[in-house]
Symmetry: C2
Subunit: 329 residues, 2 copies
């Protein structure tokens, strides 16, 4: 009998297959087929995104499931160049959860809402018997007004690819917490990205696409972009920002930092002539490590992501396969 495997929820290749073979098969419609993390409806005026947060542990360096549930969903809306205005929230709580912990998490959600000004407008609470859920999971669904046309479909050869900050921070932090490895400086980058996106839109930077590199990390987003825009992405490995703590951690454990999740860093694809302006704006609004990391080319040999090392050697950055790290977000 066929059974669902962890890898089918990982953000990698098997996850894509489950979506294509099952969900798109039954729910197919033009809006769902947009392929971005948020859908745009109502004649292009409203962006909508949903996410269920199952992160373990519930509290970690740099955040908690509540902060993640607000930032994660508003970020998906922001990545469609939309202002996150409204959120619904659904709590699934295991009987016996400490009320004080729940209150800390709710307070953390409230505080993260201040960053974007988004408001929770409707909610649902389920309390389930012990064992039916591991402590607490939270679904948030966000929506808001689209300010510019920003979608993976607009990525074209010649575009520059930027990243707003160091990668793999969230993934490394959760991994270390899970394995009880103490490394100084491993902190989740979990944060709301709308202020940065708003600054770019206010300056009328003509962004083609944006995506926060969550489950599956940089490797998943770049491969999705290459496939969905039928392009080849040429990335310069040595300029991809990675903190010393994350580099040390991933080297010791032999993990590829490119497949570890970010929760506060996003990729941008935009015309080459606008990339230095965009970097300047990001530097000025709390993203000092924003940098040009690659460019988009014609896909002569099919969609590909190529990493060029400091020594000039090239390798293929593949789609993540298998179980990466469950319950990362």
């Amino acid at each position: 009998m066929s059974r669902i495997q962890l890898a089918q929820g990982s953000g990698g290749r098997e996850n894509q297959q489950l979506i294509r073979d099952l969900f798109l098969k039954y729910f197919s419609n033009p809006i769902l087929a947009q392929l971005d993390d948020a859908a745009v409806v109502e004649c292009g005026t409203t962006a909508v995104s949903t996410d269920t947060f199952t992160v373990h542990p519930l509290e970690f360096a740099g955040g908690d499931i509540g902060k993640l549930a607000i930032a994660g969903t508003t970020n998906d809306v922001a990545m469609r160049a939309a202002c996150p205005e409204y959120l619904s929230v659904g709590f699934i709580i295991e009987e016996g959860l400490e009320t004080e912990l729940l209150e800390r998490i709710v307070a953390s959600m409230s505080s993260e809402l201040q960053v974007t000004g988004a408001r929770i407008i409707t909610g649902d609470t389920k309390v389930v018997p012990r064992g039916a859920v591991d402590r607490l999971m939270i679904n948030t669904t966000g929506f808001g007004a689209v300010r510019a046309d920003c979608s993976v479909k607009r990525i074209v050869p010649g575009d520059h690819i930027l990243i707003s900050g160091p990668i793999a921070e969230h993934g490394a932090c959760i991994y270390a917490a899970r394995e009880e490895i103490a490394i100084a400086g491993l902190t989740s980058d979990c944060q709301s990205l709308w202020p940065a996106v708003k600054a770019l839109l206010d300056h009328e930077v003509p962004i083609h696409a944006m995506r926060d590199a969550t489950r599956g990390g940089l490797a998943a987003v770049l491969n999705e972009w290459a496939e969905q825009s039928s392009t080849r992405l040429m990335m310069t490995e040595e300029v991809i920002p990675i903190s010393e703590a994350v580099r040390g951690f991933t080297e010791i454990l032999g993990i590829d930092p490119y497949i570890l999740a970010c929760e506060g860093a996003f990729l941008l694809s935009l015309p080459a002539e606008n990339s230095s302006e965009a970097i300047d704006i990001l530097h000025r609004c709390g993203h000092p490590d924003a940098v040009l990391i690659g460019q988009v080319e014609n896909a002569d040999n099919g969609p590909q992501v190529i990493l060029t090392s400091a020594y000039g050697t090239q390798r293929l950055l593949d789609f993540p396969y298998g179980e990466i790290l469950p319950r990362i977000c």
Copy 2:
């Protein structure tokens, strides 16, 4: 140390307290404070509702978690006199779930979507390790265009209260399945209510409020209505429709049918002069048991729900307290 209890998610009094003392404390804003099951935003044009479905067992007589996840959320949108147009869906799947079962549930969602024409426009899939969730939970968030102003705040003395069909069908069906009691005719009433609401709106019936009587059943909705509209609701017990199977089941087990969930019956409050037209319309569109069951009066002694029996005796129908039946929806 204070811990969350099952009763805090029951749809009864303790559930209301948790919402008031914790969620409204941190998330307070005028839209969230609307108190209906769906919020209305964007200058009154869009209704939004969210629900996480945790029902156990996943499949039951008359439906499954998928049908429930579509009907339940579109019903909450419909209860605000809004056409359910768009849905997001978030799956939380336990590693090892039978793929075939998941496909049956997804197909059932797809088929229930046909009833209203609503479309799934964005989604999220989490697969969690064994034990982190019991098999499958589904969040759906729905929204759509508001066609009339319909809210608990519009209930006024003089209104008639109708119910669209027999009560407690879903609750009794799940209860029996959980306890492995086989009673012929116990079938969930799980269904999408938008077609009935649409028929009423098409005939311009001036409905004041609607609510499907889910968690906490008739007792919860009527008490919420009385409190939120500061009225006294006078209900005629003998006309409240209850099927023979449900009556037999609840009498044998000594359960109050008024606190058991419906998933396909809704209450309406509307001007007395429009009630017979509304009943006729409901009879013609698949709700042959729709009936007038009470009326709204001034709350001289504070908000109350009074049941008058066939013998003319009166009793207070109180808010459900304690753990009713966890994982009912």
